[in-house]
Amino acid sequence: MNTSPEIILDCRELTKTVVTGSGKSGAKPLTILQPIDLQVKSGESVAIIGASGSGKTTLLSILAGLDLPSSGEIYLKRKPMHTFDEEQRSKVRADHVGFIFQSFLLISSLTALENVMLPAELANDDNAKEQAMVMLEKVGLGDRVDHFPSQLSGGEQQRVAIARAFVSKPDILFADEPTGNLDSKTGEYISTLLFDLNQQQGTTLVLVTHDQKLALRCQRQLTMESGRFINQQVMAEVS
């Protein structure tokens, strides 16, 4: 029997409005996200592309449970994130979510190994260290485990960040411009690494990028403009 993959992320009518300005001109509401519907299946890779200010980063923040929508519903692993407080969302993130940031956000005082161990430790994984070692080997930094971020190049730092994102085997990985701070050659290498690992681990990937090339490696591309999707391209069916 052909069972269709589980919907891991389900958004219905998501909107985000913020209040800007104060004082003489008075407060003005600004709509960042128009009502958005989105379903992501388990194992799927989705790229959200769009110009600056189109709302893609805001959407990523809400999808990842870092922020709350102004209205609408969002279910991550069937959990109603829109009704959760910060602590509950933290728990969901700890159990199911991985992150890769544009500026790497490695903890400068911890070694590469310790940075990678962090999420596994937060999930109370007894084998955090071993798993982190394995992941660093996979990203080709097995000989740099004791180096601090400042001793690594940008590309190496992002590889550590990728290892960190995958170490706790998250169900879904959110990446915010993962190659945005890298030169094109390194960016290429990083994106290959990211997709390879993603495939190996069968992780769902949602990434936000300007980089068309990177976006095209995803199974689905969603283009945003003025807070809404304007088209969807599906590269391949998820089997």
Binding site: T57, L60, S61, A64, L66, D67, E86, E87, S90, K91, V92, R93, A94, D95, V97, F99, F101, L105, I107, S108, S109, L110, T111, E114, L118, P119, E121, L122, A123, N124, F148, G154, D176, N181
Partner: protein
Amino acid sequence: MPMWIKQSLRLFRHELKRGELTIICFAIVLAVATVFSLSGFSQQIKSALVNESNSFIASDRVLQSSRPANENILIKAQQSNLQNVQMLLFSSMAFAQDEMQLVSVKAVQNGYPLRGELLIESDNGPVAMSAPSEGSVWVEQSLLNKLKVNLGDSIELGAANLKIAGIVNKEPDASFSVFTQGPRVFLNFNDIEQTKVVQPGSRLTYRYLFAGDKADIDDFDLWLTPQVEENQRWYDIKSQQSPLANALKRAESFLSLASMLGILLAAVAVSVASKRYGQRHQPMVAVFKAMGASKSYIRNLYLLHWASLSTFSIIIGLFVGFVMQYYALQYMTSYIPTNVQSSYWYPLTVAITTGLLCACAFAYAPLKELVATPVLSVIRGFNGFTSQARWQSVIPAISAVFLLLLLFSQNIILSVVLLLSTAVVVAILVVFGRLLISLGRQIGSGAGQSLHLAVANLKRRAKQNNVQLVSFTIAIMLLLLMLVVRTDLIDEWQEQLPENAPNQFLVNINESQVPKVEEFLQANDLFASQLYPIIRGRLTAINDEKLLKKASKEQEDKSDNGRQGIGRELNMTWQQQLPDENVIVAGQWFSSEGKKAEVSIESKLAERLNVVVGDELAFQIGSEKVRVPVTSIREVNWKSMQPNFYMIFSDGVLTDFPVTYIASMHVPSVSKQDFQQFLSVYPTISVIDVDAMISQLRTVIDQVSIAIEFILLLVVVAGSLVLVAQVQASMEERERELAILRTLGAKGSLLRNSTLLEFVVLGAISGLLASMAMEIAVFFIQLKVFEMATSFHGFYWFVGIGVGALFVGSVGFMSCWRLLKLSSLTLIRRTL
């Protein structure tokens, strides 16, 4: 072990190793070390000063009484582990063959003196002794001259015949009153009975001397003070009205003040550094949160992190403080007597409390904001702390600082003055700072490119600069405050004790000897006061009210050197001119024309006797009665080393009475021998040597001055740390700005000059504001704490501005040097 403990300790270990906690640790270390070394150091200096000065009362405390004190007091003293000896003082006639002389007898028990030394002449020079053996006396050299006797001869004192067994070289608790009644005779306490001079109605002074550990003395003091009777007086060196007591009190206040300034600065450094600590950890907290760490997890992690950091810093601080105190005291050993008992409990307790207070109060707000870092920052970036929690951070910090000041100084006035002046500074700073910066911008727009950019930078960072401005200003203000107060205080002391301060008093100069004395003074070119005629007389009535009762009460309950005069014979003089150090506060000084009978009375005595200008005073002088109206009331500086009088008559009133003269003079050591020789020709002239007291005063000044150098050093270190911490806090933003300016093609020299100028301008503004604040603080400190005349310190305004520009400019520039040296590419890579 919970994971947060593991992670927290790991983070702490790495950060410590990598030097990321250096500034915050250094700030806490400095606060703790400053408090430890200063409280230990100043405590030891104070106790050394007091110990040494206590030799002037031959003990730590004295109970003086006109009747024997209750036995219980001595029993309690023994129970309190205090040493005690008794003395009896009285005046009596001493006879030797046909000669007789009024002498001041001091009958002492073995063990006297408890502090200081009683030196008796011997063949091998002066030797420290306790009490003469029974049946013998020690006397002053002048008595031998007056009675025409030699060492080994006998004198009669009352009914006793006593052998002169020694000559007194130095008596620790000698009276500095220039009107002492005759030469000193030391008698063994057990011989009192034999003399039979103690009869009902005899004028006797009982003195009970006590000495021991400070804590025991303090306990005893608490027990005894409520029981002190009307005819008794319970005092220590500081309650004496003497220049020494005064210098001691000020020295103590100053040491406290200076140390408090150091502590205040160290606290500012902790405050600045802990804010920076919080901001620097924000990305970590956001990443932790993004990875699903709960708020309580992060709170625990950072509480432990902060606790580890504080504990580590406090321990290092205690160690550093101990070493600093050790070496400071080593350095001072040549100035401090070696018998100083050092206790580390007090400094240890105060220092640990300081560390904890700083760690808790200053970390509260930054830690709270840190834990509250929004998780969204991982996407949106970090904008530092919002200032919403301003009051939350200010109130605990101010309370902590006040507690610290109070804990350290135990002086509410000093603490409030310091805190208030600092608060006023902060308040006016914010207003003035902005005003000056915007003024600077206008000036800057017409100036060169570098200055223009520097001022634009200042203006743009107005909010951060306000914080920097406040810290810099406080640092500079505290530095200035210390310099100014130190200079003022030492100047005042020096004024009080000029090089040629009188060190000898000549008393009992008779009229025929006056020209000889004047001749001697002139021949030896000695600096001397004029010769004051002295007439002894008794104040008998004010207007028509007889004074008997009033005066005798005064005599009993007040036994200060000054006040003893009233109730018995007063030493009075007459003068045409108002003597130096005397100021008329009511009425008018004698008019030069005519020979009207008038008298001028000292203001405190006038107040006590309720005498006003216009009252008529009656005096009994010998067998004569004199009535004169009071035409003026004078304030007298009793601290001045010159003869001072309660009553000064107009010229002509007393001229018919038999008179002796008194003079004070400075005899340099080279002239001492001539001086002795001169005196040996006139054995009836008495001399009072106050050299010992003067050298004691100088020791106080020297010791305090050296202590101040040490504290100044600490204050400078603390001030620099505040600057470095502040500059560090703005480093990331500067890095970004430099990257942008470099990218836009700004030349290295332009960036260097504008950075330097930015700090110089900021420093100069801070210096100006600090000078203003210093002036206000000094005004109150002079007025309320030191009780001295207030003054303006224009010169220090220039120092403040100069030091501010130089100090902030160089420290800021040096801190940024690393950044300025980076190539454009590196800068851009690092920041983007």
